[in-house]
Amino acid sequence: MTFAQALFMGLLQGATELFPVSSLGHSVIIPSLLHWKFKQSDPTFLPFLVLLHLGTAGALLVLYRDQWLAITRGFFTAAVRGRITTPPERLAMLLLTGTIPAGILGVFFETRIKSLFASPHVAAVFLVVNGFLMLGFELLRRRAERRAALDSKPRAEQEQGFAEAERISFVAAALVGACQALAFLPGISRSGVTIGGGLLAGLRHQEAARFSFLLATPIIAAAGLVEVPQLFASGVPVGEYIAGALLSGAAAYVSARFLLRYFRSGRLDPYGWYCVAAGLLSLGLLALNL
C-alpha cells in the first residue's frame, strides 16, 4: 500500500464509519473498482484496520468527552449502589446492555461472516439492501409520526414528539446493540442499523445518532486495542498507517459533528437512496470490469 493509498483509505474509513452507508462495504468495493493491488487478506492489512478503528474511536471519545466522563462516573456509581437515579447512570447501563449482545456476536461470528462475504460483488448487493433498510426505517418512522398526529407539523416539532436516548428501554437497547451484528455483512452499515433501531425504539433522529455513536465507541476501541500487538509485527509500515489513522480520526470527528447537526431535522432517506444508487452502480461497473 502506498502512502497516498493509506491516506485515502483512512479518509474513506473515517468518513464512512459514522455515515449510515457502510465503511466496510466502501473499503471492499472502492479499492476493487480502482484496481488497487493490495490485498485486504494480507497479514499487514489487519494492523492498518486496527489503527483506522482506533482513529475513529479516538474521534468519538474526543467528541463526547464530557458525556463519557459522566457515563463512566454514572456506571460505577450505579453499579456499586445497585440502583439508577440519574440520566447518565441510566445511559451507562443502557450502553452496557447494548454492548453485550454486540460483543458476544462480534467475538464468535465476526471473522467467519466477514470472510464468507468479503467480495466486492456481495458488498455491492448488501449496499443496495442497506439502502432499502434505511428507506424502510424512515417509512416506519413516518407511520409513527402519523399515528402521533405529528405529520402536519414542522420537522423540528415532529422530532420533539420523540424521546431522548436515556429514555430507551433496556430491551430496546439490547436489540439495537444486537443489530450491530448485521454490519459484519459488508455493505450493511453499523451506524445505519443502530440509528434505524433507535428510530424504531422511538428516539429522535439526533438522539438515535448519539446513542449509535456512544454504543459504537467501546466496541470499536476494544476491538482495536486488542489487536494493537499486531502493529509490532515485522513488515508493518507504521508511519504510513498512523498517518492514515490520523486522517481517519479527523474525518470521523467532522462526520460525527455534521451528522449530529444534520439529524436535528434530517432523515435517513438521502443515505438510503445513495446506497441503492452506489450499490447498483458498483454492480454495473464490477460486471463490466471497468
Binding site: 445497585g82 453485550i100 460483543g103 486488542v226
Partner: protein, 65 residues
C-alpha cells in the same frame, strides 16, 4: 425485580463466566474459536459478562430497609 434467589443466580453465573474467561485466557478452552492458543477477545468478553452479572446481582438483591 428484587429477589435474593435471582441475585444468587447472577453471582453463580458471574463465577462461571470468570472461570470460562480464565480458561480462554490460558488457552485451555478452544470452543467456538478460530485456531489454537490463547483467545484474548473471548477472555475479555467473558470477563465483561462476569462483571455485568455481578452488577445485575447487585441490582436484584433485596436490601434491608
Amino acid at each position: 425485580m428484587k429477589s435474593t434467589p435471582i441475585a444468587i443466580g447472577f453471582v453463580i453465573l458471574a463465577v462461571v463466566f470468570f472461570v470460562v474467561a480464565a480458561l480462554y485466557a490460558t488457552g485451555v478452552l478452544q470452543i467456538l474459536s478460530s485456531g489454537s492458543g490463547v483467545h484474548i477477545k473471548h477472555a475479555i468478553l467473558f470477563a465483561v459478562l462476569a462483571v455485568a452479572s455481578l452488577i445485575a446481582a447487585n441490582f436484584t438483591r433485596q436490601r434491608a430497609v
